[in-house]
């Protein structure tokens, strides 16, 4: 019953998308504008139908309806209900269904909020969104159908991938990632709408697109940080980023979207870079699909790729359609995208945005080439090669340092015409802070060049961004005699976009400092202890108390109880690193325990144990400033929220 409802809903959704997707172009071409409401209705119908299908899947998961193939694949009666329901996005078919739902939701919001907008842009954009949805519906009734009938009905299933039922962040990271990834479809749809309706040369579509890109960008930023956190808490190696293909796939479109959020300002202010910006929008969307192809087709293996199948060709075909179609549309609009704008002077914020776009593009390209190179090398030479952390660190750290520098210079330079002399004066405090930070980390004993540079330029950029608030508050106090807090509040009110952007900058700087500190000053020690024995790492003294075992319905748990001892010998904290052993996995899943303080974490992992409990091997990692990364992620999102918050004036 559940199965039939869901399958019917998906088929009707597919028909609604196919019909609705072609109605608008035909209606506009034939001058039958009275047909356009049908396209709108198709968008709402698609949302309702996909909601029914997704709801049916969650219901089937919650009720252990093993007659449905996806439930039989990821469900198990022993798995707690919470992890059962979130396994909606635990494997390929369910995540495609969830993707289709997020897309349907976004489409409905786009059409509803722009229902009174005159012109053909929104009907064309709705068409584009319906056609994208059509692609996902084809997957859902074809190669990624989660609703196959299983017969005979199994009594129980294997449960979700152990890595996915081991941590609460699995309820947070994938939805954020989909909200970010799928969100990039909306700017793309607006770009297609603008190209088809002949509005590509005007600024209207850019204003619509900007806030949607910011929203998707913020979700993607939050997703990337949450993914790092998950990796840190679950994988047991004490790191949070391994330049793994799946991580790269989420990061690549983030970089192009970041570039767009900056270069779009040049278009709005100066009417320039139109062609470049529309390419960034199309490219970002294509890169989200490419990323999904890379990670979901099984062509590249990765720790995060829990799904694979034969749907790679569908994705490749779709990417080809997107790129070729966009190229034709852009070529057809080349006249309206050409700009004859001018820069007033080379030293101005516009120039910094150009360099920022160049560096972000090079960054994106480096990660993309590094991610794809193993495929290329195997095809060309027949030899398997790896491209991993040492490569990406060597190639991208110089770019990251240069971007941090520009992040400080950009806000300090005015639009149109700046002067080197003014800039030099503005850079003095930042330079002093940067030099002091560099000196401190050198004194602390690191000789890691990029570690030192990252601290120096993070300090430089942080000071210059804070300096913008100081200058703004001072000016308001001088002009209106306001108190500091009132002046700061009104500063945000007067130009929320600009000052929200600087908040996002500060968030990125906090993340950069957290990463620089934890990768430069990380120390670790591993020791095999008998109960009662202690080990010491820096200021941390840990005593193994005991090794214990426990059976839970869905898994067996082996844990060690380890006390952290103060100088007096009194325990001040207890950590319980564990290994969770799931029946479907031959390797135990490490479950490290972390004690967090604002200055850093004590990260503890159980490496191995004697079965009689007589000893355990414990690894302790001292991770300075790691919580700053999670905190900085929050600040980035806050900045995006301030920047994009709708106001009466901008609406």
């Amino acid at each position: 019953m559940t199965r039939l409802v869901a399958v019917d809903a998906l088929w009707f959704a597919l028909i609604a998308c196919a019909v609705g997707g072609i109605v608008a172009p035909i209606a506009i071409a034939r001058g039958k504008r009275q047909w356009l409401p049908f396209a709108q209705a198709a968008v709402y119908a698609n949302f309702a139908l996909v909601t029914i299908a997704t709801g049916a899947m969650m219901w089937a998961l919650a009720t252990h309806d093993f007659s449905i193939s996806y439930v039989a694949q990821v469900g198990s009666r022993a798995t707690p209900l919470f992890y059962t329901v979130i396994s909606l996005w635990g494997a390929l078919e369910g995540s495609i269904l969830f993707w289709a739902w997020v897309l349907a939701l976004y489409s409905a919001i786009v059409v509803y909020t722009n229902r009174n907008r005159p012109g053909n842009l929104v009907p064309y954009a709705a068409s584009a969104l319906l056609i994208i949805a059509l692609f996902f519906h084809i997957l859902l009734v074809g190669p990624a159908n989660p609703f196959h009938l299983v017969s005979p009905v199994p009594l129980d299933g294997p449960g979700p991938n152990p890595l996915l039922q081991n941590h609460i962040l699995m309820a947070v990271h994938p939805p954020l990632l989909y909200l970010g990834y799928v969100g990039m479809s909306v700017p793309f749809a607006f770009a297609v709408g603008a190209l088809l309706s002949g509005e590509a040369g005007s600024d209207g579509w850019i204003r619509l697109t900007r806030r949607w890109t910011l929203l998707a960008w913020a979700f993607l930023a939050a997703a990337i940080i949450a993914g790092m956190w998950w990796s840190y808490e679950v994988l047991g190696w004490g790191g949070y980023w391994a330049w793994d293909p799946v991580e790269n796939a989420s990061f690549i479109p983030f970089l192009t979207a970041t570039a767009f959020l900056h270069s779009v300002m040049v278009q709005e202010r100066r009417g320039m870079l139109k062609l470049w910006n529309i390419n960034l929008v199309v490219g970002t969307f294509a890169l989200t699909i490419l990323g999904t192809f890379l990670t979901r087709s099984g062509i590249i293996s990765s720790v995060h790729a829990f799904t694979q199948g034969t749907i790679g060709y569908y994705f490749l075909a779709f990417i080809a359609v997107v790129l070729i179609g966009s190229a034709i549309l852009i070529a057809g609009n080349s006249d309206s995208l050409r700009t004859d704008g001018r820069f007033d002077a080379p030293v101005a914020r516009e120039s910094v945005f150009l360099l920022n776009n160049l560096l972000l593009t090079v960054f994106m390209f480096t990660v993309l080439v590094g991610t794809l190179f193993p495929l290329v090398a195997e095809a060309a030479r027949g030899v398997k090669v790896s491209v991993g952390e040492p490569f990406f660190n060597r190639m991208t750290l110089p770019v990251i340092v240069a971007l941090l520098f520009l992040m400080g210079v950009g806000p300090a330079l005015p639009w149109k015409r700046g002067s080197i002399e003014d800039l030099k004066v503005k850079m003095i405090p930042g330079t002093i802070v940067g030099v002091i930070l560099a000196a401190i980390v050198l004194l602390l004993g690191t000789r890691n060049v990029y570690g030192v540079l990252a601290f120096a330029f993070a300090g430089f950029a942080g000071t210059l961004n804070i300096g913008e608030y100081v200058i703004g508050v001072r000016a308001r106090r001088a002009a209106h005699g306001e108190s500091v807090l009132t002046a700061l509040r009104r500063l945000f009110g007067a130009n929320q976009r600009r000052y929200g952007g600087y908040v996002a900058h500060l968030g990125i700087i906090v993340v950069a400092v957290g990463i620089a500190a934890s990768s430069t000053f990380r120390t670790e020690r591993e020791a095999t202890l008998k109960p009662g024995e202690t080990m010491t790492l820096g200021k941390v003294t840990a005593r193994l108390k005991d090794v214990w075992g426990r059976n839970e319905p869905q898994r067996d748990v082996i844990g060690a109880t380890v006390e952290l001892l103060a100088a007096s010998g009194e325990p001040y904290a207890v950590l319980s690193p564990r290994m969770n052993i799931y029946p479907m996995s031959d390797q135990p899943i490490p479950t490290p325990d972390v004690r967090s303080t604002p200055f850093g974490d004590t990260y503890m992992n159980l490496m191995s144990f004697r079965e009689d409990g007589s000893s355990a091997t414990i690894k302790i990692i001292n991770e300075p400033l790691v919580p700053w990364i999670w905190f900085g992620g929050g600040v980035i999102c806050l900045g995006a929220l301030i920047s994009g918050w709708p106001t009466r004036r901008s609406a």
Partner: protein, 185 residues
């Protein structure tokens, strides 16, 4: 319909209860731990670490972080907590202790696992592409940006700015950078 409502309530309850349950189990674990008798403090095993040992350790971890853990997809044998990675790390340590150079140890692992074991492709032959392409884009892109800024400022700034354009852009990126970075060099 009431079953659906019940399901929704159940899911919501689980969502709310999950962090609580986590906190409770953590508290329980702490209580369990506290209820057991404290054991005597003994000196850490292993004793003191000599200077030679710490040099060997540093070399081992530097080399281990360039070698791929074969069972964990993407992690180095330095980072991976897996058993195989731990064994491979001790092989690295043994070889280095026996007086082998980094190059020889790397060659040993390549002979055993193929080039795939290196996390960074060897920089010659076809592999040069992966290093060169980003650099080409950077250099070409920089040239393009400088050219564009020159042409965009040529008319409006009466030719004076045009001459200084490229130099100013280049100077903007490099001159102050040297200023702040100098204590490092």
């Amino acid at each position: 319909m009431s079953r659906v409502a019940l399901g929704i309530v159940a899911v919501a309850a689980m969502l709310l209860a999950a962090p609580v349950a986590r906190a409770q189990s953590a508290a329980q674990t702490a209580k369990d731990a506290a209820s057991q008798a404290p054991a005597a403090v003994r000196p850490p095993p292993g004793g003191t670490i000599s200077a030679a040992d710490s040099v060997l350790e540093a070399r081992t971890s530097a080399l281990a972080s360039t070698l791929r853990c074969p069972v964990c997809q993407g992690l180095s044998i330095q980072d991976s907590p897996s058993e195989l990675a731990q064994q491979m790390r001790s092989v690295v340590r043994d070889h280095l202790a026996a007086g082998k150079t980094d190059r020889e140890v790397r060659a040993y692992f390549i002979s055993k696992y193929g080039e795939w074991i290196l996390l960074s492709p060897q920089p010659y032959g076809f592999n040069l592409l992966v290093y060169a392409l980003p650099v080409f884009l950077l250099v070409g892109g920089l040239g393009f940006v400088v050219m564009k800024v020159r042409s965009w400022t040529a008319v409006s700034a009466n030719g004076v700015a045009a001459e200084g354009a490229a130099a100013a852009i280049a100077g903007q990126a490099s001159e102050p950078e040297q200023g702040t970075a100098s204590p490092v060099d």
